[in-house]
């Protein structure tokens, strides 16, 4: 019976989080996901909640690339934690959303471009983000003060009287383009880690729909995900929609204004009923509502749900978005007042901080999640390699 005892010991170690030698992955977070999924794969009760579990059942073991893919597919809705018969205090200690969150941030770090900047994910926090925004705002205030335009209503409320259009473009375009490039290179590396094959049109359409509708925050039954406890709520999905679509409307406002400027030669400021203004105002209000709601939900989240170490990163991103939206709306309200220039400096500082931290902030989750969802939409259309007996 010695062998049985040795096996029992090994199994007990496995169950308690010390993986058997042949299963050891280089990194503790990845090994934890592999351990947890080995248990999940033998249970499968959560299959109806989201895409992670159906993707899991197509595998018998979980190597680094599987773990990275599944971690980014996880929306951290919490349903599988509250439903789990093996969740703490069970000795198996299964907490899928937390294990996934811890690997997710590692994938961002590992794929970050340029690589050394990946460490910024771990340092990203509320204080840092706000300090960066404040620093940049201060810098702009000093620049404005030098030309004597920091206090006092500029003619016709034009921002360009404070900062010429060319100056703004030369400040923001490089930062924005760098952010886009860094994220694109990072997600390209993530994609190539386990390429799922070419994307068919239906796969692409499905993934797009899953992203735009946040399908996997509906709990699989339409009643939503978990936040403070085992009750389901659609609040997170809705506030995320406010945030995402608010952000996109603001982005659209800027894009339309850019087209007006360069193609039509119409320079800002635009009237209150102009397209950029309408898009920007709606987007700004939506973004404020969304981020305020997400902050509120985040503060009330069940302590076992997600990775508490990443809360500062979440808060930083939410706060920056809120600051961008609220200072942007303030600009409209303060038009024609002497406080306009000061507010503009704060707004531009916040926008600049958002762009600068974008590739190393919570923003990355959207890009990697989108890629993982597309991977899943491609993979599920390919035949499974397994033939479970009673299927």
């Amino acid at each position: 019976m010695q062998t049985l005892e040795a096996l029992t010991r090994e199994a007990a170690e496995l169950a308690q989080g010390r993986p058997a030698p042949h299963q050891r992955l280089a990194d503790a977070e990845e090994a934890e996901v592999a351990r947890v999924l080995q248990i999940c794969n033998a249970c499968r009760y959560c299959e109806g909640f989201c895409a992670v579990f159906p993707a899991m059942t197509r595998r018998l073991q979980f190597d680094k690339t599987d773990v990275h893919f599944l971690a980014n597919l996880c929306h951290q809705c919490g349903a599988c934690l509250h439903a789990c018969q093996y969740a703490p205090p069970h000795e198996f200690g299964v907490n899928v959303p937390r294990a996934m969150a811890q690997v997710r941030v590692r994938t961002y770090v590992e794929h970050a471009w340029p690589a050394p900047l990946g460490r910024l994910y771990q340092r990203n926090g509320l204080a840092l983000a706000l300090a960066l925004a404040a620093g940049l705002a201060l810098f702009l205030m000093l620049a404005a003060a030098r030309t004597g335009s920091l206090w006092g209503a500029p003619p016709e409320g034009s921002f360009y009287a404070i900062f010429p259009h060319g100056t703004m473009v030369s400040l923001f375009a490089p930062v924005f383009l760098f952010a886009v490039l860094a994220l694109a290179l990072g997600v390209r590396q993530f994609w190539r880690e386990s390429p799922p094959g070419p994307a068919s049109a239906p796969a692409l359409a499905e993934a797009t729909q899953n992203v735009l509708s946040l399908r996997y925050l509906d709990g699989g039954h339409g009643q939503g995900c978990n936040n403070a406890d085992d009750a389901f709520t659609l609040a997170r999905r809705r506030f995320h929609h406010f945030t995402f679509y608010g952000f996109m409307l603001c982005f659209a406002a800027t894009s339309v204004a850019t087209l007006y400027h360069y193609l039509l030669g119409w320079t800002a400021p635009y009237g209150p009923t102009s397209l950029p203004k309408l898009l920007g105002t709606t987007g700004g209000v939506s973004l404020m509502v969304g981020t305020a709601g997400l902050w509120w939900l985040n503060r009330r989240r069940h302590p076992l749900q997600g990775d508490p170490a990443q809360r500062p990163m979440d808060h930083a991103f939410i706060a920056l978005l809120f600051l961008v939206a609220s200072s942007g709306l303030a600009l409209m309200l303060l038009k024609g007042t002497p406080a306009l220039a000061l507010t503009l400096c704060i707004h531009l500082g916040a926008v600049m901080a958002l762009f600068a931290t974008m590739p190393y902030s919570k923003f990355a989750h959207g890009v990697y999640r989108g890629a993982a969802l597309l991977k899943w939409s491609i993979e599920k259309r390919a035949p499974s390699k397994l033939q479970l007996g009673d299927d």
Binding site: M1, Q38, A42, C43, R44
Partner: protein
């Protein structure tokens, strides 16, 4: 005075509490476990066996009452009560809209369990999600819920419930529902029931408990021994499956199952086969293997497969013992190598391989072998080889309180006017032996709801008596 006291905190108890609360009664529920372990064995369940005459949302085709009854008759070998069994079966066809109303979500069969697509409605997220939903709903209806509130004894007067004692508190109520589970996690009682076998072993000492550690049977024993309640069933009968020998003592749940039995052979400690591994589809046979292994020396078995089986069964939670040759596997498993090779060589030579099809009762069988393997018999000859040690895993015991279609507890053949029973404490009325997937929840749901309704009606009768 409290109308209905429910003792227990699993599916049957919650169904009773919800029905009584819906009927307008004041209800208090006493759960022995702390909040995080609430729900008894229901937290480990995954589906409900349901009759239906036509496709229904997550259920395909039809599973008529008669077929369900025949299935139950077969697994119990006739040790059942037809009237109560049919009551459960009919209730299983109509209870799901009510369950949905209280927040339970259903989903089609899980991957790896498609054989049950016709017969079993799966709970989305499993039994713990169901239990969570019922608790939320009960709280919403004003049911008072106490955790860590085991009941040690009850006071009865002439077969009438008077009060229950929990943690030194005396709780009076007009009526009471007992739904506190079987005695599966009481290892002393199991040992006493199974006694000493012909080899001088105490078999129950090698059993693992698949479910909750809180079903110690204190109340069941109190009712049987101290109050002489009418009993049903045999203390050694239980839902028992063969599970990974490395599973934790309690709460191993579903993931400790070893599902490769029908794809290979199972040997005992002496390295000999002892039963037809290919008798029928695994889902129809998994529930007999716990008992089969319990009868073997040391209450242990070894499921042996080769590379051909990999990917054809639900992946086990712990990795198997792996070897590149059969003698090496015997050594790693600690089995006598000569006997092991003898058994395997005889089996391999006896295989008559036709067209292997694991989804049908195929024509791969053995000839001239005892015991035979009647389906899916293919030589075990392709490395790597894997072995899984299995032990009996007790899910729940069948010894319980005798009842009738009103769920009343009986004393000397007479039904109590205000004491009712549901769930594992009375499942033995329907299940004298054997098991078929999801039927425990069918019994718990049907009798939980009956007990809740009857208790509410009895409590309301008390009111009219008092007013008269």
């Amino acid at each position: 005075m409290l109308d209905v006291l429910v003792i227990g905190g699993g599916n049957a108890a919650l169904c009773a509490a919800l029905m009584a609360a819906e009927a307008g009664c004041s209800v208090r529920l006493l759960e022995a476990a702390p909040r995080e372990w609430r729900g008894g064995n229901s937290q480990h369940t995954r589906n409900l066996r349901c009759m239906h005459d036509a496709p229904q949302d997550v259920l395909v085709d039809a599973y008529p009452e008669e077929e369900f009854w025949q299935d139950l008759l077969k697994v119990t070998g006739g040790r059942t009560n037809e009237a109560l069994a049919r009551l459960v079966i009919r209730a299983s066809g109509t209870c799901r809209p009510w369950m949905r109303k209280h927040g339970v979500h259903f989903q089609p069969s899980l991957s790896g369990a498609l054989h049950t697509a016709r017969t079993n409605a799966f709970f989305m997220g499993g039994g713990k999600a169901l239990v969570n939903a019922f608790y939320r709903s009960a709280q919403g209806l004003g049911v008072r819920i106490d955790y860590e509130a085991p009941v040690e004894r009850v006071e009865l007067r002439d077969g009438r419930f008077v009060a229950a004692w929990s943690r030194g508190e005396r709780i009076e109520a007009k009526t009471c529902v007992l739904a506190a589970g079987g005695f599966e996690s009481n290892r002393e009682w199991l040992s006493e029931a199974w006694g000493t076998n012909e080899r001088g072993e105490r078999p129950a000492e090698n059993f693992l408990i698949r479910g909750t550690r809180f079903n110690t049977g204190v109340l069941l024993r109190h009712m049987l021994d101290d109050h002489g309640a009418d009993r049903i069933g045999d203390a050694t009968q239980a839902h028992m499956v063969a599970i990974d020998a490395r599973a934790p003592l309690y709460d191993g749940g579903i993931c400790t199952r070893i599902d490769c039995v029908s794809l290979g052979v199972v040997l005992n400690r002496e390295a000999r086969r002892f039963y037809d591994e290919g008798e029928d589809f695994w889902p129809k046979r998994y529930a007999i293997w716990g008992r089969l292994v319990a009868q073997q020396p040391g209450q242990i078995g070894y499921s042996i497969i080769d590379a051909k089986a990999i990917g054809r069964f639900m992946p086990p939670v712990f990795p198997g013992t792996r070897a590149d040759s059969l003698p090496e596997l015997a050594r790693l498993l600690g089995l006598d190598e000569t006997t092991f090779m003898d058994t395997l060589n005889q089996y391999n030579a006896a295989c008559r391989v036709g067209r292997f099809d694991h989804t049908a009762l195929d024509d791969c069988h053995t000839e001239g072998l005892s015991p035979p393997k009647t389906h899916w018999a293919r030589p075990i000859d392709t490395p790597p080889f894997f072995g899984y040690a299995v032990k009996p895993g007790v899910t729940f015991t069948y010894l319980g309180l005798k009842t009738d279609e009103t769920a009343a507890v009986h004393f000397g053949g007479q039904p109590s006017p205000n004491l009712f029973v549901a769930g594992e404490m009375m499942a033995g009325n329907v299940l004298g032996q054997g098991y078929t997937a999801g039927v425990g929840m069918s019994i718990g749901t049907a009798f939980g709801r009956i007990a809740g309704t009857q208790a509410a009606a009895a409590a309301q009768r008390e009111v009219s008596h008092a007013n008269a």
